[in-house]
Amino acid sequence: MTGLEKEAHLEALRFSTRRHFLKSCGAGFGAMALGALSSLEATARAGTSALAGASTTGPLPHFAPSAKRVIFLHMAGAPSQLELFDYKPELQRLHLQRCPESLLEGKRFAFIKGVPKMLGPQAAFSQHGESGAWVSDRMPFLAGEVDKITFLKAMHTDEFNHAPAQLLMHTGSPRFGRPSMGSWATYGLGSENESLPGFVVLLSGGVQPDAGASVYGSGFLPTVYQGVQCRSAGDPVLYLSNPGGMSSDVRKRSIEAINEVNRQQYEYVGDPEVLTRIAQYEMAYRMQASVPELMEIDSEPDYIHEMYGTEPGVTSFANNCLLARRLVERGVRFVQLFHWGWDSHGAGASEALNIGFKERCEETDRATAALLRDLDQRGLLDETLVVWGGEFGRTPMLENRTGDDNPYVGRDHHSDCFTMWIAGGGIKRGYTHGETDEIGYTRVGGSVHVHDLQATILHALGFDHERLTYSFQGRDFRLTDVSGHVVKEILA
């Protein structure tokens, strides 16, 4: 920890040096709203990155962080907690009985109409590890890692449709226009790597998140903070490759010429923005080497591929988990994964708890567990926060849109309780926080709202969530809107 504290101090010094430059330059904080600051600032450190935060002054970390980086594994569509972690034998007893009407009063559902039946757990549960955490047989690999994890069993949110709920999870607001968590993190902390973006996004499952690029957008923060998607097919970063036939040497020479002309221009017009442009072209050239190197997972040893279940050359959640480890190893601040396909309504095979959901578990379980183990073995887990979960939970009731002979089993969206887990970076190992009632329908203790989770993640990164703010339209905005409490109970 002392190492981290020292680094935080150095980081603070670095920021205050930058700030000193800004003051002497006469630009006030009003400038930041225009983004002019980012470029002025980069000028001060010409030759370094203005990508995703390395160039801009954020607020200083408010205290010593317990985590330097975050990997957020978002299971888009909202996986059922009742088939994974929230074991409810009582629900089994009520299986296919009519839902008591008292449970439905004043509730809003996306699809359930009338009085539904209860649906017992669709998987077998057992306890695992020293901590004795309940995990179903859908996730046998993760079951082996429970002693590294804190489970949050009484998560709740305000939204019950995917797009708004995903926005709330990642931007703190169900409406469009706010910066995402990764943007806030890079705005606050900058990047540790000058050849890679500070906030990287990896998608799998063949589909983007329901709310689109806004869930990793920078909102009203300058676009340098938006998440950069790294892709497994085509250019890993858009337009990274030189045009066909152009060698790296020719590119290097052409950037030299561009920058020479730019230097002449700077001497003539005196606009410091030109110096920033020079720095950006240099970084673009560096990225052309560093990003492909990063993406080359076939350089990893066999036992790593065995552990993750990776297969070089395809787009998969497993490959993305391995990339996430390679990214945090290289100092990338925030790695956001999305894996789509967890919306288990039971309206078809791909979204049935007994079919599609099972497949999603098989696609993700091994790699998720491997990521935790791999990070831990490399000593990275202690300084990297790993967060897993969907945008809301699912009902203990059966959703049955298509009639009694429906072979597919599903549950509707549920915003009142769901399970997420969080590991590493100063979070307790082998711990469970929060509890739901005997059918998993309401929270009975240890409630954690989405804003509380966000406050806790920022806390781990060294920020008081109420003070990490950005002034926009006359108001100081923050990730946690007007609420949020750090979940102290789960801090190691």
């Binding site: 330059c25 006469g26 630009a27 225009l34 983004g35 002019a36 470029s39 980069a42 990155s49 990508l51 699809f111 109409k113 009338g114 449709n161 995917h162 797009a163 409406r175 469009f176 589909v207 983007q208 709310a211 689109g212 690029a213 806004s214 009203f220 923060l221 676009t223 340098v224 097919a233 858009l238 337009y239 490759s241 045009p243 036939g245 152009m246 020719v250 020479r253 052409s254 950037i255 010429a257 561009i258 020479e260 002309v261 221009q265 700077y266 017009v269 005196g270 606009d271 923005e273 030109v274 442009r277 020079i278 950006q280 072209y281 673009a284 789509w340 509707d412 339209q473 006359g474 108001r475």
Partner: protein, 802 residues
């Protein structure tokens, strides 16, 4: 002697003449008080936003402020209290002596709340004496201010640079070298050239790009599936309006209320698509009423941001934290927009249909048949049997199955009506209930089937459909309630459409009828409105200078930036509204002819130090081009640009895998031929996955109104202009033009630079490009010229407006 001196000092401090509320008092209240005692929180039942609230006794029974008597004012007692429990601001540093002095003096003077500058109508300022070499009134204001700061204006920009600047500014494209030569060799004057640009059809395309950010125009519906929406006719309306120099007041009225104009034309109805650019949520399991309300809220917020420079959105959940907009008043504004037919349905109806010429006769026939069905449905409903069935049906509405058949956005009003005794209902209410009955009962199914078939036949005709605003008929008007904490499930007091009290009221003779959107639109552009003209001239100024006279384009409120040149702002605003009769072209011409605009953007270290962001305007603007301009310029200088205007949006090449929406089978169908090279504003805009190079150059996603694009400078931008196939193709085409232009390499490269910039290169730059050419293979390598063309198109000079 000593005593006398200190007494003198003391009196000098305590009896200062007077304080200025906006300069000396409001900043203290905003910074230190209103976060707890304001529009959001009213701790101890005290709010300091409005005078009447501040003078009432608070929870303690004591008034915070007793005008004329600071010592009796609880506010003063609490800010000087030594007990940390009682002293305000709580858990914060105490106020300084000076701040306390200002508060005391202000209370002693009577504690008057002066209105914020922007909420007071501008008056024509007196113009300072004309500056020596200034051409325009603008220069007189700017130079008077520079003199105060001890700065001198910059000389005029070099001719070629200026011609390029004004061309990019007015038509969004670079000048042709011939145009530069014509002006710089005095074949034509600068003013003649400006007139030529203003008359160009390219003008409307450039300025539409700015307006479409405000209108949050896109070709899709937003949210999860983000399905297609045919609304490009609105984009074309905007282009045409700018080209026709449609006066801004008219432009305003048509977009907000074109459907309510007497004998509205098709174009006027299409203009209302401005507010149909709100998102439609077609995700499964969403509540249509929830998202209809979200769209109406967006219309309120967008209207107030665009025309009033105000972030009204704060007030949808509670009173505005800083500005004098009350929670109830927000919903009075909401009421203006709450009475249109649209309701978050997948098809985005109602739409304006424009049939192809050959199908118009058939369309008329179908329309007549639809009218026939409607009247036969009415006749059937009038039969005794069904009149009775209607009455029975009304009694069955507590059955969820019966009421559930009625569209959910209409259920509440229906349930309210059926509680009223039939004899007490208005005709409209009775018609409302009958319509719901007719639309859900099996007796009418045959008619509904016929109607569906006619609808399908109509859909099969060649036509363009555009979502538009359509006012609800009197009988189906919605009531508007304040939503507690902004939650549409918690309706509270009912409100009528009206404007907020801190702005002048709507003038009208007939107070018996409810106000509507047309009243609101006319009020926005009325002489009394203090904001619209200022907010608009500021937007145009920002487009030219990179920084608004009020930097916060979107916020003219008390927390927004104060104008650096307030008199210039007011002069421009009043001139725009009166002398120029809301003509945007005249306004732009006035500005670009000024000496202030024509200054060189070169900056010395001293000037950079004195005014790093050029707020005082001692030099000309210099900043990176917009996303649209970057693309259009590359296509233009390479000779690839298509001049085709209007029509459905096009899909120029983009990398695979950008579109991956859930539950969507939309595909990017890459355009062929000329369609690949249309101007950027014709590119298909999908909100959840916008065209990548546009986003990289800071364009918004268009999910909501954006006043100001934040300009960034990133390596991802370099990758676009270096490697994106669009830019590589442009470099190849430019290299081809270079080869044709001259015989020797040096001349070819000089020609390429001139094609790109409009003016020839200085020798040192030319040397650098020639040496690049030689190093990458020279004449023996076919691609060497392409590499040079690509380099020219990646220089900061090319990517910037100087």
């Amino acid at each position: 002697m000593v005593l006398g001196l200190s007494a003198l000092l003391l009196s000098a401090c305590s009896t200062r003449e007077s304080v200025d509320f906006n300069a000396d008092v409001r900043p203290i209240l905003n910074d230190k008080c209103v976060s707890c005692h304001g529009g959001v929180r009213r701790r101890a039942d005290l709010s300091l936003l409005f005078r009447e609230d501040a003078l009432r006794p608070a929870e303690s029974g004591k008034p915070a402020i007793v005008p004329g008597n600071p010592d009796a004012s609880e506010l003063i007692r609490r800010v000087i209290d030594h007990d940390p429990e009682d002293r305000m601001p709580k858990e914060d540093d105490p106020l300084t002596e000076e701040e306390i002095g200002h508060l005391r003096q202000w209370i002693r003077d009577g504690a008057e709340w002066a209105p914020h500058w922007a909420y007071v109508a501008p008056t024509m300022p007196s113009v300072p004496r004309p500056a020596a070499d200034g051409r325009s009134v603008i220069d007189s204001f700017v130079r008077a201010r520079l003199e105060e700061s001890g700065l001198t204006p910059s000389p005029e920009a070099e001719c070629g640079v200026l011609v390029r600047r004004v061309t990019l500014d007015l038509i969004g494209l670079p000048p042709q070298p011939e145009s530069v030569r014509a002006v710089c060799e005095s074949e034509s004057t600068y003013e003649e050239y400006v007139d030529e640009l203003l008359a160009s059809p390219r003008f409307g395309e450039r300025w539409a790009a700015m307006w479409l950010d405000l209108a949050r125009y896109a070709d899709t519906q937003g949210y999860e599936k983000d399905g297609p929406r045919s609304i490009w006719r609105y984009r074309d309306y905007v282009i045409q309006a700018f080209n026709d120099d449609l006066p801004f007041d008219q432009f305003t009225i048509e977009q907000l209320a074109g459907d309510l104009l007497p004998d509205a034309t098709v174009e006027q109805r299409l203009a209302t698509a401005f507010h149909r650019n709100t998102m439609t949520n077609t995700e499964g399991g969403t509540d249509d009423e929830e998202h209809r309300v979200a769209a109406v809220i967006d219309r309120v917020n967008t209207t107030f941001e665009v025309w009033q420079g105000m972030s009204a959105s704060c007030a949808q959940c509670h009173g505005h934290p800083f500005d004098p907009l009350r929670h109830e008043e927000y919903f009075q504004l909401f009421a203006f927009f709450n009475n249109t037919e649209d309701w978050d349905q997948d098809g985005d109806g109602p739409v304006e249909r424009e049939f192809a010429l050959q199908d118009r006769a058939e369309a008329e026939r179908i329309l007549a048949a639809l009218d026939g069905v409607a009247s036969r449905m009415d006749s059937l409903a009038e039969t005794p049997e069904l009149l009775a069935a209607h009455q029975t049906w009304e009694t069955q509405l507590d059955d969820p199955a019966v009421v559930g058949a009625v569209r959910n956005t209409w259920q509440n009003e229906l349930l309210r009506i059926v509680k009223i005794d039939e004899s007490d209902r208005s005709d409209a209410q009775q018609a409302y209930s009958r319509k719901m009955f007719v639309e859900t009962r099996p007796e009418f199914e045959a008619f509904r089937q016929e109607r569906r078939e006619l609808g399908q036949a109509r859909a099969g005709l060649e036509q363009t459909t555009t979502p538009v605003l359509q006012a609800l008929p009197d009988g189906r008007r919605r009531r508007t309630h304040v939503f507690e904490r902004g939650n549409f499930l918690l309706p509270a007091a009912e409100v009528e459409p009206d404007t907020p009290a801190f702005l002048p009221p709507i003038q009208r003779d007939d107070t018996s009828r409810a106000l509507n959107r047309l009243d609101l639109a006319e009020w926005l552009v009325s002489d009394e409105n203090p904001l619209t003209a200022r907010v608009m001239v500021n937007r145009f100024w920002e487009q030219l200078f990179g920084l608004g006279l009020v930097e916060t384009l979107e916020d003219f409120g008390t927390e927004g930036a104060a104008p650096v040149h307030p008199e210039l702002l007011d002069w421009l605003a009043i001139s725009f509204r009166e002398e120029l009769n809301w003509s945007i072209k005249s306004l732009l011409k006035t500005v670009v002819l000024s000496s202030t605009y024509r200054q060189s953007s070169r900056v010395t270290p001293e000037l950079l130090d004195a005014d790093p962001r050029n707020t005082l305007l001692a030099r000309g603007p210099r900043f990176r081009l917009s996303a649209e301009q970057i693309r259009d310029q590359a296509l233009s200088v390479s000779g690839l640009l298509s001049e085709t205007m209007f029509g459905p949006s096009v899909m120029p090449p983009q990398p695979d895998g950008i579109w991956q929406n859930p539950y969507s089978n939309m595909r990017w169908e890459t355009a062929e031929g000329d369609e690949r090279h249309r101007r950027a504003l014709y590119t298909y805009w999908r909100r959840t996955a916008p065209y990548p190079s546009m986003i990289t150059f800071d364009s918004p996603s268009r999910e909501f109104c954006v006043s100001r694009r934040v300009r960034t400078n990133t390596p991802l931008q370099a990758l676009v202009t270096l490697n994106d196939p669009v830019y590589v193709e442009a470099a190849e085409a430019l290299a081809g033009r270079m080869q044709e232009a001259a015989a020797t390499t040096r001349e070819q490269i000089a020609a390429g630079y001139e094609l790109a910039m409009g003016y020839p290169p200085v020798p040192a730059k030319l040397d650098a490009f020639v040496s690049l050419f030689e190093d990458v293979g020279g004449g023996g390598h076919a691609d060497a010229l392409v590499v040079v063309a690509n380099a020219i198109m990646n220089t900061d000079e090319f990517l910037s407006k100087e």
